[in-house]
Amino acid sequence: MKDAPLSNCERQFLLQAIEQKKRQDGRQTYDYRSIKITFGTEYGCCTVELGKTRVLSQVSCELASPKDSRPTEGLLFTNLELSQMASPAFEPSRQSELLVKLNRQLERCLRNSKCIDMESLCIISGEKVWQIRVDVHVLNYDGNLMDASSIAAITALSHFRRPDVSIQGQDITVHPAAERDPIPLSIYHMPISVSFAFFQQGTYLLVDPCEREERVMDGLLFIAMNKHREICSIQSSGGIMLLKEQVLRCSKIASVKVSEITELIHKALDNDKKVRKEGGKCGFAESMSKERITSLQTVESPVEMTDVQETAREIIHNAETPSETTLSPVLHAVGLGQVGEGVSSGWGVEEDEEDEGMEDQPERAEGSRKGDVVVISDSEEEEVVVLQ
């Protein structure tokens, strides 16, 4: 299914609004949409809502052997999925340009910025290391996927805990969560991507473009930065010429936004930690809004089973006894039998022979031993013929 194209008048309207420093949703030029972070019941699972854009991130880990070039470092693997749920234009199992761009940028944002202590993921040098996998699923697409995914990925990584391991000689024991408390990853800093959309060959700039704004923009600039104002990666796409001042100004805006977002992530993480410590309920079900008219919940409800046995007995009693099917093996050829009904098998029987009656098969099969029937029999199977 294709996405509905943007009409010319819509395009003009959007561009005019941007020229007048107005945005459809009433935001200012440098405003972010509201960000909401919720955690799942598992460690390392979170959803991030950026306005209407929604992404789900899940971190998992497994034991793997390290790369030969870096035997003491763990592995980090990121995978961003554009689910068809997010937009009908996203086709499953197709590497679109957007998908490649987002995956590459996310990888640069997380792996190349060295935000995780990879050496702490080593178990036995050169043999066993932890491989951390970050899966980001886009659930609803309303622009600025990169920022939402980078927030989701780094939040999930900070939330994640890997199982504890103990080593005795060459034996590695992975302790389940019930035995030993799982260990959080050591995270040096939190790179967060901030997107800038440029319009009219770089004359106008907007932070956090929504889907419609993304459709009319000329160019996009991603700046991934941490709260220490260190730029982790920067990428401009769309082929517009940016001036040095513009890039510097964008990096200044990014530093403000990044510190705001980092604070929000920390607040969300602390909140979740507190709830878990107190043994309260956590998970998406708890964060579901109860005030919404479209949501409803019920409490645990019992199902009565008292007369179930009688009902079952009655049904079985009343059921007609299945017609007695005699399971006589039918022999099509020597070494080939069929039990029960079904389509008559043509295995090992030449086409012109199928029409012949089954009664005379044993004799005929003996005659056709010379070659036209694939014979996979021996003396034992000829005894089966006697049964018929």
């Binding site: 479209t294 949501s295 089973m305």
Partner: protein, 218 residues
């Protein structure tokens, strides 16, 4: 059979509809900790290769949380698709496509039944014509022969047999059944009877949620 157990439980369940802006219908359904998010697109333009001249083409996709969809997801997709095809009046939208996407958010047992319930809620939200509603119930038979409805992942692991039924709201008939493990005919009939009883709870919940949703408009 354990005579003393006269009750089995459905975990706390709930649903939020229309939570995503892009799909025509969406729902997030949870049963205990199991949570599935679903989105429906359609009726929409269909690829020529998938076009069916007298009805709509239904596609079901189940996305696992980690990794890519595997054979297990394909098998579940088929179960859900066949159930939906049984109730959807797809002849009303010939030569069009319906796409149902289910995203597993958390699996804590009874995943297929949660997928079915989420699918039904999303189809309701999208306003697609259906002959009746359906719900999914998972039953497990523990080693000592006790029937547990809506089992958790742990209960599933300890069970001897696991069955999931899709039940329609009109006749409480079984639309789809999938089983794992071994059990007797009596046990199967008992599980169906229990599921039919449990389905009443879920259908009441559907009714309540629709009532709530339209209460302020009426």
């Amino acid at each position: 059979m354990a005579e003393e157990a006269s009750h089995t439980f459905l975990r706390q369940f709930g649903c939020e509809q229309s939570l995503l802006s892009k799909p025509d219908g969406s729902a997030s359904y949870f049963q205990g900790d199991t949570n599935v998010l679903s989105g429906v697109y359609g009726p929409a333009e269909v690829k020529v290769s998938k076009e069916i001249y007298d009805r709509a083409t239904l596609e079901v996709l189940i996305q696992p949380k980690v990794g890519l969809p595997s054979v297990r997801e394909r098998a579940r997709e088929q179960c859900v698709r066949e159930t939906c095809e049984a109730v959807l009046l797809s002849t009303l939208h010939p030569r069009s496509s319906l796409t149902l996407i289910l995203q597993v958010i958390h699996d804590d047992g009874s995943l297929l039944s949660c997928c079915l319930n989420a699918a039904c809620m999303a189809l309701m939200d999208a306003g697609l014509p259906m002959s009746c509603l359906f719900c999914g119930i998972t039953c497990s038979i523990s080693v000592d022969g006790q029937i547990i409805t809506d089992p958790t992942a742990e209960q599933e692991k300890e069970s001897r047999a696991l069955m999931t039924f899709a039940i329609d709201s009109a006749q409480k008939g079984v639309l789809m059944a999938t089983t794992k493990g071994s059990f007797s005919v009596t046990e199967l009939q008992e599980c169906i009877a229990v599921s039919q009883k449990a389905s009443e709870r879920i259908f009441q919940f559907y009714r309540d949620s629709v009532f709530r949703r339209y209460s302020k408009i009426l």
